[in-house]
């Protein structure tokens, strides 16, 4: 039994215009100490997926179905009070923008100590000592003075280090990191990512990394999910997916990276843009943009237009696409041609 098991998660937003389904049939697992990447473009539902694990999606969002099992606990049906004992304690989070995450009117120390005191019966003095130790672990220069500083006195990179320190305060089982480095500069990004990776390995903490950056995912995670329009469309070992993506969308995403093309030449682009969740096409949500169906014979398959694809094993990944068999056939033919 995996440490975290999400099955058929269904999340909706009750908007004035009607219900919008932000997540459909999202299922994945996470083993103890494993690092999982969730990749997708904006609007794919990857952040919502992360927040829904701890039931932190604000109104009008609500979980309409599915289950989230964490170490034998059913998080989905838990009371808010019981869930609070998991939040920040056994599963902690790192948010995207360190400039907005820390409360501007509370000192760093206060924000760290309150977290410890919420979960442990502990003296303020002891809590401060633990906080100091964690600040040292995240390699913040002069940690003692930081405790009494306010967030606005620190740079973005420093704040994200503090947020990592808070995430580690109670030695959690899982850290959910939602685009933890997107708001930071390139050189700081690399440092923060390396730090997070080191600490996760050192303490055997599981990591769910939400990101749009395939490079980051490939460097940090062992397994990954690719999301598109609220669904998982491909999942498997990171290395396998990066090297040999099966879903046409994943292929397009990887091929669109500038480093996949010869400098100066045109990039391999995907046509069109992601549909809005309130107005999804029937069948496979990707079919209007899918190059493979059009390459086949101009007209998309009836299955692609009508039915939502089921997951099938393909190569070393699991992929939700009607065309997998054809694509593999196609590829085999090409390989034969070459050889």
């Amino acid at each position: 039994m995996a440490l975290l098991e999400v099955t058929n998660l269904d999340l909706r937003f009750g908007l004035r215009q009607g219900e919008v389904r932000a997540l459909r049939d999202v299922s994945f697992t996470l083993e103890r100490g494993e690092r999982l990447g969730i990749v997708g473009e904006s609007g794919a539902g990857k952040s919502v997926a992360a927040f829904s694990l701890l039931n932190l999606v604000g109104k009008p969002g609500f979980i309409a179905g599915g289950s989230i099992t964490f170490d034998g606990l059913e998080l989905n049906s838990m009371s808010e009070h019981a869930l609070r004992k998991v939040r920040g304690n056994r599963i902690s989070m790192i948010f995207q923008d360190p400039m907005m995450t820390l409360n501007p009117v509370l000192s760093i120390g206060e924000q760290m100590v309150e977290c410890l005191k919420a979960h442990r019966r502990i003296s303020s003095k002891k809590a401060r000592a633990i906080a100091l130790d964690k600040l040292q672990q995240v390699q913040i220069p002069s940690p003692e003075t930081r405790l009494d500083q306010y967030p606005h006195e620190l740079s973005g990179g420093m704040r994200q280090r503090i947020i990592i320190a808070i995430a580690l305060l109670l030695d959690p089982d899982i850290i959910i990191a939602d685009e933890p480095t997107t708001a930071l500069d390139v050189t700081i990004q690399a440092e923060i990512m390396a730090l997070l990776l080191d600490l996760c390995e050192q303490h055997n903490v599981g990591l769910i990394l939400i990101t749009h950056d395939l490079g980051v995912v490939s460097q940090v995670t062992q397994r990954m999910l690719v999301m598109y329009a609220g669904r998982v469309i491909e999942q498997g070992l990171t290395r396998e997916i990066i090297n040999d993506p099966q879903h046409p969308y994943t292929q397009g995403l990887i091929n669109a990276l500038p480093q996949m093309a010869t400098p100066g030449e045109r990039l391999n682009q995907i046509r069109g843009s992601m549909p809005s969740l309130s107005n999804l096409p029937n069948g496979c949500a990707f079919h209007p943009r899918c190059d493979f169906i059009n390459k086949a014979n101009g007209e998309p398959r009836p299955a692609c237009v009508q039915e939502v694809p089921e997951f099938v094993d393909s190569g070393n990944c699991r992929v939700a696409c009607h065309m997998v068999a054809e694509m593999q056939e196609d590829r085999r033919l090409k390989l034969e041609e070459i050889s």
Binding site: L15, Q17, V20, G272, S273, P275, S276, N279, P288
Partner: protein, 323 residues
């Protein structure tokens, strides 16, 4: 979050239909939310109803309260129809001078509305001009205008209006003041409340000025006057629109307050405020209707405007009075 975007696929085959202005309004969120919000509909109906009735008061009112010949002093302080001792000629009773309360309320509402609208137009003219100047020119003009506005606001607009009203009345004499009371009140309330507009306009000009479409217009080589009026001003309209509703309500209340203090409309040409004031003297003798019925009309008028303003603010969602 879910703006419908134009999909490009198949755009060659199906010619897109261009929606007309009316269709745009019909499809707009404004219209959509108005259709669903019964409070807003009711308030708009009440407001428009009151405006029409008030401005048609010479046609609708049973008597002309300004005409002294029609007033019978013997018929003073008659109660409204549902109370014993009422006279059927006067549905809502009469005031202390024997004027028909219904007629005088209709005329009074007209006066209140006239001053409210007039004052807001004046405020808007002053406030938008100064706000645009401050926001767009920046520097010393901005510092000077905004410091002035801040000082005036910290004294509260009503305080300024009372002081100015008092001083003007004292210098010009009561008779002169009464004669030109409507114009005086428009001027006083207009001058007292322009900073609200100026601050709102300045804040949204500053917000818009930093957006990239303004930079794009500058890069294009457009002159700053054109950028100001063609690009920036249209985008500051929705907050102006929203505060205008609030300001009309405020202006009507301010007028009522000034009249109540005796710095507004004279009792011969009363507004709702002066009606309440004149009735207040008789409340201890049990004639509550002279003061409370005009009061109720005032509250209904202001409340419907305020609710409309609330609804507009929710729909247009501009960040007011900030930054």
């Amino acid at each position: 979050m879910t703006t419908p975007t134009v999909t490009q696929s198949n755009s060659q085959t199906t010619r897109p239909r261009i929606p007309s202005r009316w269709e745009r309004l019909r499809d707009s969120y404004l219209w959509y939310s108005f259709k669903r919000d019964h409070t807003a509909q009711l308030c708009l109906a009440i407001f428009i109803g009151l405006v029409i009735v008030a401005f048609a008061s010479p046609l609708l009112a049973p008597t002309d309260p300004y005409d002294l010949r029609q007033i019978d002093i013997m018929a003073s302080e008659l109660p409204p129809f549902w109370i014993e001792g009422a006279d059927e000629r006067f549905i809502l009773g009469t005031d202390a001078q024997g004027r028909d309360l219904l007629s005088i309320i209709l005329y009074g509402t007209r006066v209140s509305l006239l001053i409210g609208f007039g004052a807001v137009i004046l405020q808007a003219l002053l406030g938008i001009t100064f706000g645009l100047m401050a926001g767009y020119l920046g520097g010393r003009v901005d510092a000077l205008l905004m410091r002035l506005a801040d000082i005036q606001l910290s004294f509260s607009t009503l305080m300024v209006a009372i002081v100015v009203g008092a001083v003007v009345k004292a210098t010009m004499g009561g008779a002169f003041y009464s004669e030109y009371a409507i114009i005086m009140l428009i001027l006083i309330i207009g001058l007292a409340e322009w900073p609200q507009y100026a601050r709102t306009v300045r804040a949204s000009v500053l917000a818009e000025k930093n957006k990239e479409y303004v930079d794009a217009a500058r890069v294009m080589g457009l002159r700053s006057k054109r950028i100001m009026f063609r690009h920036v001003l249209p985008n500051t309209l929705s907050p102006i629109f929203v505060i205008s509703t609030v300001q009309i309500a405020n202006a009507i209340i301010s007028e009522a307050a000034l009249s109540f203090l005796g710095l507004g409309m004279p009792e011969t040409h009363p507004s709702l405020g002066s009606l309440i004031k004149s009735g207040f003297d008789y409340i201890q003798s049990g004639s509550w209707w002279i003061t409370l019925i005009p009061g109720a009309v005032l509250v209904i008028l202001v409340l419907s405007i305020n609710l409309l303003g609330d609804w507009l603010r929710d729909v247009m969602n501009p960040r007011l009075y900030k930054g």
